[in-house]
Amino acid sequence: MRERRLRRERASRAPWYLLTGFLLGLAAGIVFSVWFWPVPYDFARPSDLNEEARDNYRMIVARAYFASGDSGRAYPRLDLLNDEQPESILAAHAQRVLAAGDEKGSNALALLAAGLDTDNQIEPTPGGADSGTVWPTLVPEMTNTPSGILSELPTLEATDEMEQDGTPIPTIEPLNIPSADIPRATPTMFPTLSAPYILKEKAVDCGRNPRPGLLQIWVESASGVAMPGVRIQINWKDGEETFFTGLKPEQNNGYADFEMTPGFMYSLRVGENGETISGLSAADCATEGYPERVGGMVLRFTER
């Protein structure tokens, strides 16, 4: 009788231990995957951004357009946000920005919005003589969409509203935004000349370098400060390569290197109008007493 009662009690008891185990495991799993070993979230597209970040992104697109006048880049970039009515969003954003006192940002957004409205366009006076507004024109050479996002960008199709010369016809009528004082885009296709760099020191490196034939380049300013972002062009018989200092900050901000192939002769130039150093090659270390080693070179440049 008692045994039967016990059996009945056991049967009626819910398997709470299973639920307890599951919940404990769930909590441990969440803590582990969210705090201890979270998956890095760095694969967002512009359309995934929150409102504040979207505003920032939209603003920088507008400012880049304002600065460069390159609509071939600006509109595909704007499309990445997948806004449903981009022109009205831009107009509202321009109003907000203007209210916050950023007139330049507001003008940039207004200009970007104007280019989107194809229904009520006002043809700008050539050179903007009447309106005082000079509209940027499309510059075909400047419409190189960065190839990294090329596959996801919709192409900007020419419409009837576009003029023969490819100039977009912006409209500002439906937007209650101030007229923009836009400078005509004057793209600089060639970088401005920077201060020339001259060779200060050249030495053969026959040390135990794990990368044989390594050409090490160190660039510093006249005051001895390491210079990052300095363009280095290296040429050899069948090719050339361009790279920059500062890509290995763990070494030095003014450092760059290149692996030379033994038997090849290289010439190198640092900066835009720096001295060209010719006759560079992997060093023969036999004279240094290490015939088995392929040596490198160390070049140290300084601003003139």
């Binding site: 504040e52 996002i149 972002g229 920059f244 500062g246 890509l247 900050p249």
Partner: protein, 123 residues
């Protein structure tokens, strides 16, 4: 009986842990609709830095450029610029774009007096 219960308890805990990990690693990232600029994919981030470089090229305002780069996260602005320059090189950006980025790297780099000491020249 106890052994059996302990076994099922452990099994339930393991299943719970797997569900929790699945949530943290797969579901939670997809639930993000609140991504910030710091979460941008590398190619979009590079393009963002390029836009900053384009603006900087025309306006030459270093502080503004730094502020725009700082919107990408908590690292130093020059780090974002350097990373973008590296990525742009790998993604085949045009020489003009690379030059813009290089100019930006140079402009936003912190001014630190570091004496360059070339590596050991002789063994």
């Amino acid at each position: 009986m106890r052994k059996k219960r302990f076994f099922f308890f452990l099994l339930a805990a393991i299943v719970g842990a797997l569900v929790g990990i699945g949530f943290g690693w797969y579901l939670r990232p997809q639930m993000y609709s609140q991504a910030g600029l710091s979460n941008l994919r590398v190619d979009y981030r590079t393009d963002y830095v390029l836009m900053t470089a384009e603006i900087f090229h025309h306006e030459q305002n270093v502080e503004e450029a730094r502020r725009r780069l700082q919107a990408l996260g908590n690292d130093l602005p020059d780090r974002y610029a350097s990373e973008a320059l590296l990525s742009a090189g790998q993604m085949g950006y045009t020489p003009t774009d690379l030059q813009y980025l290089a100019d930006l790297v140079q402009a936003v780099a912190p001014v630190v007096n570091v004496t360059i000491t070339p590596g050991v020249v002789s063994p």
